[in-house]
Amino acid sequence: MSGTGPSEAGGLGESGRRPNAHLASLLEDSTEDLYENAPCGYLSTFPDGQIARVNATLLSWLGFTRGELVGRRYFSDLLTVGGRLYHETHFAPLLAMQGEIGGVALELQAADGSRLPVLVNSAVKTSASGAPLLIRTTIVDARDRRAYERELLRARREADRERERLQLLVTTLQRTLLPPELPDVPGLQTAAYYHAASRDEVGGDFYDLFALARDRWGLFLGDVCGKGAAAAAVTSQIRYTLRAAAVYDPDPATVLGTLNSALRRDYERNDGRFCTAAFGVLTPRTDGFDLRLASGGHPAPLLLRADGTADYQEVGGGPFLGVIDDVTFTSTTIGLGAGDTLLLYTDGLTEARTGKGRDRYGDLALRAFAAGLAPATAAGAIDAITVLLEGLGGGLDDDVAVLALSVPRRRPARRPTPPGRRRR
């Protein structure tokens, strides 16, 4: 013993020598003392919760005497009322089912009414036959930890609120980039569908339909590279450029040329934003409409004919918009007769992933789907596509815009038009 003092027995003596095991066992020679003065509370209860044994640490934390608790009080008596509700509905059933439960946050009520945040672990001691004899509980002072957790909770709530604000902002912004409703075009049924892939980011797809003159309407549909705030800014610019250009000279090839120049001028120095778009001008003819259409790198529209067939309409298109200077676009005329429906869409539709192989939906599948619908109406086609896309669920990972135009079949006079959900 000579030369070793209590300070070294703690293991951190000046000499830095580890205490020998024999000495440590002499100092920690009483399991009773270890139990009573452990740095955590010990509580044993009968299966019904009545307190059977409690250690000195817990008594000192709570300010009770042993006689006030043992054989007199139940574990749930030590809890706040709200904690008791939690104990009865969560803690006790789980303990009964699992035989143990850990890390439960509760508040104990001290004799003076003050509250002690604790973390509780319990395990059931069973007899040889498996019958529960006792519930052993260790209780750890969790004042600091609870403060930390409250801070985490507060941060999470704040993050939730911010996310809600963001989503509201995105929804509002998205709405301003799409027409609130399509204008009435006499003799034409129109319908549109928009799916934003994310609630947190503004989508990069866009469409519009607007009157250019008494008997002439402009329309466009496109897809800006990327999404989010930057894409929204470009989309906004594209919308007003296309509308303004069409007023000045409504030839679709010219309109797209103007947009290409505008994108080159404004974004060349920045991040090289580009888009695909189809722009068209609708004029009535005796049995329907002519659509003069030009495309800048955009997927070919699908024509669902009155005779039940469906085909892509190759539009002599130009390249993506905003990529190179001085490109020439060409316009093509598509005739829409009675019973015909034209679908303009963005590639989020054909590139959606389907099935287990995660294959793309694809052009062939879309044409087969369209042929199954033909002859269709604009509202009917959009309804069917909405159902199709909802069925893809998580496979739909990009924005999708679809615009449908149809010329109603001739029907007997005086027969009222049945109301359609999206019919205009």
Partner: protein, 275 residues
């Protein structure tokens, strides 16, 4: 997948319905309360299923129910839950149903039995309370502040509910190994849903509904229940015409776990007893 470890067919669906027990026997529908799921019946359902056609389910938002079916408005009153009970009865074409409702499901059963009394043969209310919050002339046992304290307890303890659990509860077929992990962790619920269910449970007032019950009713009261004290059980007994009150020698709010044999016997006796 059977979560109960007894033979049965999992009808699944929105309420994760599990059907066990011999066909053609009297139907017993077991409804769990706030805080857990159909696992609450794991000590009683297998024995009941020896003599009865036993139907188990999870309330929407609990256990392995379809969480996407949970809507805050629909489940802000117990009527939304009663709707689900009646829908399960209709879909499985259950008749002469003995409904066993634990805790808040006792009142859900009361509401269902008022709306379609012909559907039910017996009502068994385990630890019922029509109103948890004290009112002038009525003692439910809790103040509004107590309920707020419970909500705080829920918040504190859902820190143990890890974000990694979310995809499991949401149903993630790509990672089946997570389902096993879930099976070992009963009664986990999305924190938002748990908060809402707690509000619906502890702030509802169904005292006026009790007198409208015409189905034969048994009240199973625990001798020492911090949630539904004896005087509340006596109130329910007093208000439901012709009801029977049995006090079980059980401590706590879950006699089906703390005294499964006595609970089982009381349920089986009442179902098999005179109509």
């Amino acid at each position: 997948m059977s979560t109960m470890g007894v033979g049965g067919s999992n009808v699944g669906g929105r309420n994760n319905v599990l059907v066990t027990g011999p066909e053609g026997r009297p139907v017993v529908l077991l409804a769990h309360g706030f805080g857990c799921d159909q696992n609450m019946w794991r000590l009683t359902a297998p024995k009941l299923a020896e003599d009865f056609r036993v139907i188990l389910f999870d309330h929407v938002g609990a256990g392995r129910s379809d969480l996407s079916a949970w809507q805050p408005e629909r489940y802000s009153t117990l009527d939304g839950y009663a709707d689900d009970v009646l829908r399960i009865c209709r879909e499985l074409e259950l008749r002469q149903v003995a409904f066993v409702g634990h805790s808040v499901s006792a009142m859900i059963g009361v509401l269902a039995a008022i709306r379609e009394p012909g559907r039910f043969s017996k009502l068994i209310l385990v630890g019922p309370s029509p109103r948890y919050v004290d009112e002038p002339g009525y003692r439910g046992g809790f103040s509004r502040a107590d309920i707020d304290e419970l909500l705080e307890s829920l918040d504190s303890n859902y820190l143990g509910w890890s974000a990694a659990m979310a995809p499991v509860i949401m149903g993630n077929p790509d990672r089946p190994e997570l389902a096993d992990e879930l099976a070992g962790s009963f009664c986990r619920t999305d924190p938002v849903i748990a908060q809402a269910f707690a509000r619906t449970t502890f702030l509802s007032d169904n005292r006026a509904d009790l007198a409208k019950v015409i189905v034969p009713t048994l009240i199973l009261q625990c001798s020492r229940d911090a949630i539904a004290p004896a005087e509340v059980g006596a109130f329910v007994h007093d208000q439901i015409p012709g009801s029977v009150l049995v006090t079980l020698p059980a401590t706590g709010h879950c006699p089906q776990l703390s005294a499964p044999d006595a609970t089982l016997a009381a349920i089986a006796d009442f179902i098999s007893g005179p109509p």
